[in-house]
């Protein structure tokens, strides 16, 4: 499935079993075909850049991976096992965390309650499950502090009081502080300042070094070319390129995205 460029393949990665394997996945919303026959493998310990124009199908693909929508056709394997039930809970239980652009935070809940939403810590009183509020407060306060949010942020306050960038930082913090195997970042640096942006990118590389699979979705090809191990390009719901970063320079990358893979850049053979 992987594209060979000038005869080069990434032996180290190819010899491993993929952690997530997407096989011939298609998805349509009514008459609109969002994804067509996409197959792609993701390996542990790599940082994959998922790029493409608006409406290329990037978000749809990660929504399938994170269990929000089931594919119309095709199969998804996690750690060799076929996924039959698509639900975010299942994905989270498998250790897959997705930082999405527009969703993931309930504005009416406190910072602490948002942090633990869906996996609330409990303490039993007379055998009944109650929220462990002390743990919620202490853990989330530590995370918020470690990720450099304002000192005035009170974790008991509604998260609506945070700014857009702070909310984004919070989502990233939440994703990386739970023990996960896969972190998907959908345009993680939107709304962020230059400094915060560098921090997020650094974090993505760090997570990869810790052995996690990081799938990084972005429009910013300069950024992704700098940090990714492999770049997958989607165009109109199809995968047009899947190559190691080293096999491609920025110019190739720009050209492919611009031309939608119809005219592959010189020296690059499309999948």
């Amino acid at each position: 499935m992987r594209t060979e460029i000038d005869g080069k393949t990434d032996q180290a990665i190819d010899s491993k079993k993929p952690l997530i394997s997407i096989k011939n996945v298609s998805l349509s919303y009514g008459n609109f075909q969002a994804l067509t026959d996409v197959s792609v493998d993701f390996y542990q310990g790599e940082l994959v850049g998922l790029v493409g124009d608006n409406g290329a199908g990037k978000t749809t693909l990660i929504r399938i991976i994170s269990g929000i929508i089931p594919p119309t056709y095709g199969e998804v394997y996690f750690d060799g096992e076929r996924i039959t039930k698509f639900h975010p809970k299942k994905a989270i239980d498998l250790g897959l965390e997705c930082i999405q652009q527009t969703i993931g935070i309930c504005d009416n809940l406190s910072v602490g309650r948002n942090y633990f939403l869906g996996r609330e810590p409990i303490k039993r009183i007379f055998g009944l499950p109650f929220l462990d509020k002390k743990k919620i407060r202490e853990t989330s306060a530590k995370v918020v502090h470690d990720f450099g949010l304002r000192d005035t942020v009170d974790v008991d306050d509604e998260i609506a009081l945070l700014s857009g960038g702070e909310k984004q930082t919070f989502k990233i913090a939440r994703a990386v502080t739970f023990r996960n195997r896969v972190i998907i970042m959908d345009e993680p640096t939107n709304h962020l300042s230059v400094r915060e942006r560098a921090h997020v990118n650094e974090l993505a590389v760090q997570l990869k070094r810790q052995g996690l699979l990081v799938i990084y979705i972005t429009h910013d090809i300069f950024q992704i070319h700098r940090i990714a191990d492999r770049i997958v390009i989607l165009e109109n719901g199809r995968k047009v390129t899947d190559v190691p970063r080293d096999a491609m320079n920025l110019e190739n990358l720009e050209e492919i995205i611009r031309d939608g893979g119809r005219a592959p850049a010189k020296g690059v053979k499309s999948a």
Binding site: D93, I105, L109, R113
Partner: protein, 323 residues
């Protein structure tokens, strides 16, 4: 200063309702020269408040998820009729269980249509409102069900609103017990966190692994069973029920919740506030009766209160969330 008010409103939405209770209590007491505040009148108000509050608690939980249940009045009617219809035949214990079962079933039906089929709750429960009111009229065919003397002697009958305990109607005790339980469930338990999350942002909750459908189904069942129980509490107190029992009660229940600081858009509720909201409505009703105003005016007052409360709610929420 604004920040201080903001944080109070954010964390204690019932504060304003409670201040209002104190204000109108004083006002009504003065205007009626003390008779509004007499022991007898307060007993009557507290019994009426208890019934309305039990129903409004269920409503508040539904509102917490961003939905609405306008069938609670009809469901309370079904609960009351089932209870009084069966009690003389099967005893009040069995009758109570049957009434609660009816509430659960109707709630589950509403829940299935909202959570699984995806029909807006306003439409689903509007249908239930008419359907069960119709059934109420049909089974009574213009007559009423009354508790027999034997039934009135039974322990269960007295324990669910028919009798009192140290001058306090048992319905009041039930309302307080239910308040404590629900308060723990909504604000201290994981499921409560998810109920509020669903009302705040259903899509985000789903992406965090919350089973949105199950939560919505659950709140309608709770609302159904509480509405039926409210019907039982009132029927046992009055001793009879006809086909119109519980009619328009849903309006008062919604008004009590809104007045108590529940946000109709979902995600933000106060159960303690709802209790006081119910008290204000019943207090006003009693005030109008003492003044000799025709009871029909009560509905007009409820309407005005809901409009004003929504307006105040919007202003205060905006103030509270100002950065």
């Amino acid at each position: 200063m604004r920040q201080f008010i903001g944080s109070i409103v954010r964390r204690h939405p019932e504060g304003i309702t409670i201040s209002l209770v104190v204000l109108i209590s004083l006002g009504f007491a003065v205007i009626t020269q003390g008779s509004w505040l007499s022991v007898g009148n307060l007993q009557s108000i507290s019994q009426l408040t208890a019934v309305l509050a039990v129903m409004a608690f269920g409503e508040a939980i539904v509102i917490a998820t961003g939905e609405i249940d306008i069938s609670v009045g009809s469901v309370s009617g079904i609960g009351a009729l089932t209870f009084l219809g069966l009690a003389p035949i099967a005893g009040s214990g069995i009758a109570l269980l049957a009434a609660l079962a009816c509430g659960i079933l109707i709630g589950a039906m509403n829940g299935v249509f909202v959570a699984l089929v995806g029909i807006p709750s306003l439409l689903v429960t509007l249908g239930s409102l008419f359907l069960f009111q119709g059934i109420g009229y049909a089974v009574t065919s213009g007559f009423s069900f009354a508790a027999t003397n034997t039934v009135r002697q039974q322990f269960v009958y007295n324990a669910v609103g028919g009798g009192g305990f140290a001058e306090v109607n048992t319905g009041v005790i039930w309302a307080l017990v239910i308040l404590v339980v629900l308060q723990l469930v909504v604000f201290e338990a994981p499921v409560g966190n998810r109920i509020l999350a669903v009302g705040g942002d259903a899509g985000s909750s789903f992406s965090r692994g919350v089973n949105v459908g199950r939560i919505k189904f659950g709140v309608f069942v709770v609302s159904g069973v509480l509405a039926a129980f409210a019907g039982v509490l009132d029927a046992a107190f009055i001793g009879y029920a006809d086909g119109s029992f519980g009619a328009t009660m849903e309006l008062s229940a919604i008004a009590a919740a809104v007045l108590g600081g529940c946000h109709l858009a979902g995600g933000r509720i106060s159960l303690i506030g709802t209790l006081f909201g119910a008290f204000i409505l019943r207090g006003i009703q009693s005030f109008l009766i003492i003044l000799g105003v025709q009871p029909q005016w009560y509905i007009l007052v409820v309407g005005l209160i809901v409009v004003l409360a929504s307006l105040a709610d919007r202003t205060l929420t905006r103030l509270a969330l100002k950065k």
